[in-house]
């Protein structure tokens, strides 16, 4: 069966072959939608032993309100997506090593090394957690420091508790959720330190994962020392930070714990984008994409957390479905790129996706963006050659909540035809 699939997809296609890298929420949603849009020759490649991606370890509920209209847990949500993509060819335990600019997809599995020939590729490889080395915490290099997602896998999949007494650095959603999971599995959580003056996690997670269990959230605090005994973490020091995020001497507090979880950010996984030669966005860490989610490489699309980190799996799926329709059009139509105009971000807006608008594109424009800081009573405004063509009022914007804008056909047209496009925050007068 597997060898048949490998043989079939290693042979030249009839020009309509779509290969999807990643069998998580975005990849499965893209596969199902591509089939619905008329693509017949589809292959999903997944490096794990099963489909579903990170959903399999996200046992908390809150998934699927947008996609399925009900609140599901991660594994239940994954099963729904798998059903939607049922019958589409896939290979698990298969890692993509490289993608060439002409869309040859080099894979390795227990069958060996082989090359799949694609006419379009949708990359849906998700993201990675920022590790300890990337944030420079001083102190001992001992065991007992885990990323929150690693602890999540150990507890939820393997049934192993990585420690007894936890402290969590970073208030990203996975960190908040793991505070509750650790408590429910019999652990103790001493606190969550967040270097910023606000949490990057969803408010509902602070309420139902920390407040419910009396776990303190220490804003404007960070870990400034890690101590060890016999190679295992035995305590940490937490300090308050000033406006410049530097630790303030004299504010140190020691905590005795055996485990430190890190929830300090997610970064799109971009190895394959780089191997194909696609342009990357320095702010998102993912690909630079146009309105079809196509990268700077013809026929190479990128969606989900690999394009930019989303707040909800539902949003990643929605983006993947939109992309799948465009990928189907790309495969059936003329495979051309088209002229683009770049969206410039300033005045509090960190990035937009897409980064490029297509000059000859028609219809409404959906623009996703994040701001750099918390702001109240602001407009998010879009400008075409200096003229304001769109603005949306927000009572509050925060870096932790992605903003979704939909611009009408007429307004989108003005932006697409402009020489210079800008998106920024504007204060309410």
């Amino acid at each position: 069966m597997r060898t048949d699939i490998i043989k079939a997809f290693s042979s030249p296609s009839d020009g309509g072959r779509l290969v999807i890298v990643g069998g998580g929420p975005a990849g499965l949603a893209a596969a199902a939608k591509a089939r619905e849009s008329g693509v017949k020759d589809i292959l999903v490649l997944e490096r794990d032993a099963r489909l579903g991606g990170i959903l399999n370890q996200c046992v908390h509920s809150g998934f699927g309100l947008h996609m399925f209209g009900e609140e599901l847990t991660g594994p239940e949500y994954a099963s729904r997506l798998e059903k939607m993509a049922d019958g589409i060819d896939y290979l698990t335990n298969t890692t993509v090593l490289n993608i060439t600019p002409s869309l040859e997809v080099e894979c390795v599995s227990r069958e060996g090394i082989f090359t799949i020939k694609a006419d379009a590729v949708v990359l849906a490889c998700g993201c990675r957690e920022r590790p300890r080395g990337a944030i420079g915490i001083p102190g001992a290099r001992c065991s007992g420091v885990y990323t929150a997602g690693t602890a999540q896998k150990l507890i939820n999949i393997n049934g192993v508790m990585p420690g007894k007494k936890f402290f969590i650095l970073g208030s990203g959603d996975i960190g908040l959720i793991m505070a509750r999971r650790a408590v429910l599995q019999g652990g103790e959580v001493l606190g969550v330190a967040e270097i910023m003056p606000y949490s990057s996690g969803l408010k509902r997670n602070i309420a139902q994962c920390l407040d419910d269990y009396a776990v303190p959230l220490m804003l404007s605090h960070t870990v400034t020392d890690i101590r060890e005994k016999y190679g295992r973490l035995c305590g940490i020091t937490v300090s308050r930070v000033d406006e410049k995020l530097s630790p303030v001497p004299g504010t140190e507090r020691d905590f005795e714990c055996d485990t430190l979880l890190l929830s300090v950010g997610l970064i799109p996984e971009t190895e394959l984008l780089r191997s194909a030669g696609a342009e990357l966005d320095k702010v998102t860490g993912g690909a630079v994409a146009d309105e079809r989610m196509m990268t700077s490489v013809d026929g190479l699309f990128c969606v989900g957390n690999m394009l930019h980190v989303h707040d909800l799996a539902d949003y990643a799926c929605k983006e993947a479905e939109e992309c799948a329709v465009f990928a189907a059009q790309y495969l059936s139509g003329e495979k051309k790129r088209g002229k683009t105009v770049r969206v410039n971000c300033s005045g509090g807006v960190r990035y937009t996706v897409p980064q490029l608008l297509l000059k000859d594109f028609e219809g409404a424009l959906s623009l996703k963006l994040r701001v750099g800081n918390v702001a109240k009573n602001v407009y998010i405004a879009a400008y075409a050659d200096g003229e304001e063509v769109y603005s949306a009022f927000r009572r509050v914007v925060a870096p932790g909540e992605m903003e979704y804008l939909t611009l009408s056909k007429e307004k989108a047209e003005k932006l697409r035809k402009a020489e210079r496009v800008e998106v920024k925050l504007k204060e309410k007068r």
Binding site: N56, V59, H60, S61, E71, T73, G74, P75, E76, S79, I155, N156, I157, N158, G159, V160, R180, V183, L184, Q185, G186, K203, R204, I206, A207, Q208, D211, D212, R395, V396, A398, E401
Partner: protein, 118 residues
């Protein structure tokens, strides 16, 4: 008087709620949804949550289960403790009911995933 953060929208209003003769007064909310949330938090604060249960002889060591209905907050820790004491044997099917009326909460525990025998 109790202070709570509204979780109904990104605004995150900090609200105060006070009870007098069974009547609730909510301040600090900017919309009716905040008031609704604050009152539910005072009268019957419910949650849904998942815990993992150990599995013997499977291709993985645990399976997650969830409560099949929202339960009052006071049942969370007793339910979690009961679940920690359980051990299942592979195979485990998705959607399997592994415990009824757990810790007297009225809720059952349902598996979220399948575990194959090793």
């Amino acid at each position: 008087m109790k202070e709570l953060t509204c979780i109904r929208c990104p605004m995150g209003c900090v609200m105060n709620i006070e009870e007098k003769n069974g009547e609730y007064t909510v301040t600090g909310n900017t919309c009716p949804r905040g008031k609704e949330y604050a009152i539910s938090e005072m009268t019957d604060p419910v949650r849904t949550f998942s815990v993992s249960v150990r599995v013997k002889g499977g291709d993985r060591g645990a399976v997650a289960v969830r409560v099949d209905r929202p339960v009052n907050k006071k049942y969370i820790l007793p339910i979690a403790k009961a679940a920690r004491g359980m051990v299942l044997t592979a195979p485990v099917e998705q959607g399997q009911k592994i415990a009824k009326n757990v810790a007297g909460s009225g809720a059952d525990l349902i598996t979220l995933d399948k575990v194959r025998p090793q």
